[in-house]
Symmetry: C2
Subunit: 536 residues, 2 copies
């Protein structure tokens, strides 16, 4: 037995539960692949085409192919893609971090445009994709699909994948485009929840005014409640940290509380059927505005990078996961007889997505430009093209929704449903890889100046700590407001309503919110953040 050593040990120790052994093996392999993705993604970062997500997707595909070959065509995935796992563990850190690091002023300045993209735009896109599929799929003879299936298809493919967007647009280089596309992705999650709900409950085949009003009421209720829940949890966290003065004892406790309360906001929203994405996004915004200023300086550095790191790992995980899962043989076996049909269906879907997106980006941008007085703030035609293009990608959210809708507990059943699953995977792979690869060059071509003329805030590694530690680069307070008189503010109300809303918000923030919840400049000396700063 000595010659065999550890492997014998392992077998005798773990033979009691083979399932567990297999699970541990899978985790080990997956962890190794994640490390590989990070290292390879780093090495390829200067590439003109590739980004981290495509690297992870390709590594996933290659590994899946290798496993497929070594297992003799029986198995391709290490971990099965489970939509619960995705929605419960992987998505929240990504969206929370996006809210935490978002440039708040940029986001709220474009709030109306973002909301119209996320709500009206998603509905337009949903209608076009659903209608197009209803007309075109029967020609393909894919088998019987209910009207609800077509509507679900529309709901699945009208949702922009905010995770993909994060990968191709850079907040530092193109802040306006980033806030438009990413904000749209967050807002239309709420629309998707309402849409899915409507599909399940209403008889959409005869739509009347009452149904439409009901739908609208539902949407506003969901949107409002989700946002309120996120804001409430964020404020509660700020209040607890400020009142109980956590920094006195332990940085770790502050960080742990922020992480757990952020997660709590998401999971509570899910429990009550709200939009968890919207909730955790606003929770992130509120936490970065209040709670983040109440913690010690070390906690500030730690939370900022911890949230970013968790989000980063979750993103790489998702793309690796999707890449590996997409080669799963079980799904493809159903369409062996008719591969052409699946490809045609994917092409139809891709074209519908492109048309559906163009059908709302261009008119809504035009309307939005009418309201904006400042010509610098208008969204030009080139930028509209990028907004259109960057939102075309469909990713893990689409796959997870497709699994939820078209499979019973992970196994495909009906041939028509199997075809929808494989088409979804094809669309996701194609759009992520092809559209993803072309986005960087497209932005460089259409906006050649963008990466040079906006130096904005320094990246985390190149700047010294103390300068950058407080310069989170996203606080509206750092920008120039000047002193506004009542008269001037009245004039502004007519000229640029968003700026004035911002002015009144700041007055309310300074007078009411910050004294209670803390925030930049309103942290009491007792908490030690400011006086530490003085000592330096």
């Amino acid at each position: 037995m000595d010659s065999h050593g550890p492997s014998l040990l392992a077998r005798s120790l773990l033979s009691s539960s083979d399932l567990e052994t297999e699970f541990v093996d899978q985790i080990a392999l997956f962890a190794a692949l994640l490390c590989g993705c990070i290292v390879l993604g780093h090495l390829l970062e200067n590439s003109r085409w590739l980004n981290q997500s495509i690297t992870a997707l390709l590594i996933g595909l290659c590994t899946g192919g290798l496993i497929l070959l070594t297992s003799g065509g029986k198995n391709s995935r290490i971990l099965e893609f489970k939509q619960e796992f995705f929605f419960i563990y992987l998505l929240p850190p990504i969206i929370f971090n996006a809210g935490f690091q978002v440039k708040k002023k940029q986001f709220f300045r474009n709030f109306m445009t973002i909301t119209s993209f996320g709500v009206i735009g998603t509905l337009i896109s949903f209608a076009i994709i659903s209608y197009g599929a209803t007309r075109l799929f029967p020609i393909l003879d894919v088998g019987y699909l209910e009207i609800k299936d077509y509507l679900a298809l529309g709901a699945i493919f009208s949702a922009t994948d905010s995770v993909c967007t994060l990968q191709v647009l850079n907040q530092e280089e193109t802040p306006l485009l980033y806030s438009l596309v990413f904000g749209e992705g967050v807002v239309n999650d709420a629309t998707s929840v309402v849409l899915f709900n409507a599909i399940t409950k209403f008889d959409l085949s005869d739509m009347d005014l009452y149904t439409a009003l009901d739908f609208a009421a539902n949407f506003f209720k969901l949107f409002g409640l989700s946002t309120l829940l996120g804001v409430f949890v964020g404020l509660l966290c700020a209040f607890i940290i400020r009142t109980l003065y956590f920094g006195r004892h332990s940085t770790d406790r502050e960080v742990a509380l922020m992480i757990l309360m952020a997660y709590l906001s998401y999971i509570t929203a899910e429990v009550f059927g709200l939009s968890g994405i919207l909730t955790v996004f606003f929770c992130g915004i509120v936490m970065s505005h209040y709670a983040w200023h109440n913690v010690t300086h070390k906690s500030q550095v730690t939370t900022k990078h911890t949230f970013a790191t968790m989000s980063y790992i979750a993103e790489v995980f998702i793309f690796l996961y999707v890449g590996m899962d997409s080669l799963d043989v079980g799904k493809w076996r159903f369409i062996e007889d008719s591969p052409g049909k699946s490809i045609l269906a994917s092409v139809i879907l891709l074209v519908l997505i492109m048309i559906g997106r163009a059908a709302f980006i261009l008119p809504l941008s035009y309307l939005s430009n009418l309201i904006r007085r400042d010509s610098n703030e208008k969204v030009g035609i080139r930028q509209q093209v990028i907004v259109w293009w960057a939102g075309l990608m469909r990713g893990a959210v689409s796959i997870a929704l497709a699994y939820k809708k078209f499979t019973g507990s992970g196994q495909t059943i009906q041939p028509a449903n199997a075809l929808l699953i494989t088409s979804t995977i094809t669309v996701v792979l194609f759009s992520t890889i092809v559209f993803g690869l072309l986005t960087k060059p497209l932005i460089k071509r259409l906006l050649p100046q963008s990466s040079q003329t906006e130096p904005s805030s320094p990246t985390s590694s190149s700047a010294p700590l103390l300068v950058n530690g407080y310069d989170d680069g996203d606080d509206p307070e750092t920008e120039n407001h000047g002193t506004l008189t009542a008269k001037a503010s009245l004039k502004m109300l007519f000229n640029s309503p968003t700026t004035t809303v911002h002015y009144y918000w700041r007055r309310f923030d300074d007078a009411v919110m910050r004294p209670v919840f803390g925030g930049r400049g309103f942290v009491s000396y007792a908490t030690g953040t400011r006086d530490m700063n003085v000592i330096h």
Copy 2:
């Protein structure tokens, strides 16, 4: 439908998978409880008796009781205690963080004592508990137990729970005691793996010299391989970060790589049947000695606090989990007829644990003191009592091992096995709460000066960042070595061998290791950590 709002929404949305809904509810409740534990633990921190773990355990018990009452005695736990979950997700961050933050010089200076406690001590304790149970349990008439069950009982209860130790001993206040008890807990994990393996494989009822030698060979192989694996992964991580110069682009990538490679070391050790705890502990030590110095300053602050936070959350999670699970009705139903037997069995086990521990702490400390020349370094009788006492607690590790051994997939089967499970839970609850509550006062009484006379390194919240950022307080290099001539070192070799080993290690470290793997003072200017420091 408007009046029902979100709850109706939730039901209609999630009715497709009730299992998922229930799971989401459980997670939400658990996350809320974790937040509650953190806040309450903070408020009670100045209490003389309570600590974080007891607070979490009590909250878990109370919640379990509440659920038991509301569900009419049917159910008490939110999440079922699964030993896989514990060993795969909760234990690694705790042990890794302990290795990462351990005072390395203190640990290696006492290495021989720690190892003898962890190996010989565990064997003595194992023998006493097994033998005692074999003699005393039949008197109780608990039902038929095999000889292997008694041996398993010995193995389970001879393992010190390092998670409990972290809770009651403070590295800053009592560094020597901390390193002794905690180090013992880490080393005896390897002993436990070998013991469990031996119980499964050997016929221990007739032990001969060959079996004993085989056992010893197995132990050294396991110990060596586990340590080597941890050191290898730690060095690999340092090398990758140094060579590829990650800080250039992203702090998050460095942090992600360190987290993932640490986890990879643990899970790889588990795959090969090694001691994951030993591996990840040494991986933490190596990472803090090399890799940590290769990353940007922001990453240093982030990793230090992120690891501590993850460990903190996992600890609170474990105690909450154990508290809630221990009221599970299913386990107690089996012993309804004879509650006295279970209590008696628990008392017997507790007494055996106390005797077994005293039987090795006192003689081994005596032997260890014989070797030490410096009277300041000797372990006095009062300290021996604390080492004995602080290691008496049994925690989640014992419960997880008992589940693994005495239940088939989570359900208790035989009455005798059910009794062993309930006795384990009783021992864990009693020892954690009672011994845990008394530890702080005991230390205060026996070592009244300890908390005043050792100011050591400042706590993270009270010191300014730049001073503390580099002052990780655990680098052997910060302490005073002076310049040793060859003659002096030869003299030292006879006087205090450990110090001389340290001297030669440092020469090797400076000449060979640091130029390759980085480390304090050996980071090239290109990586930006040092020159950043100069700028400040």
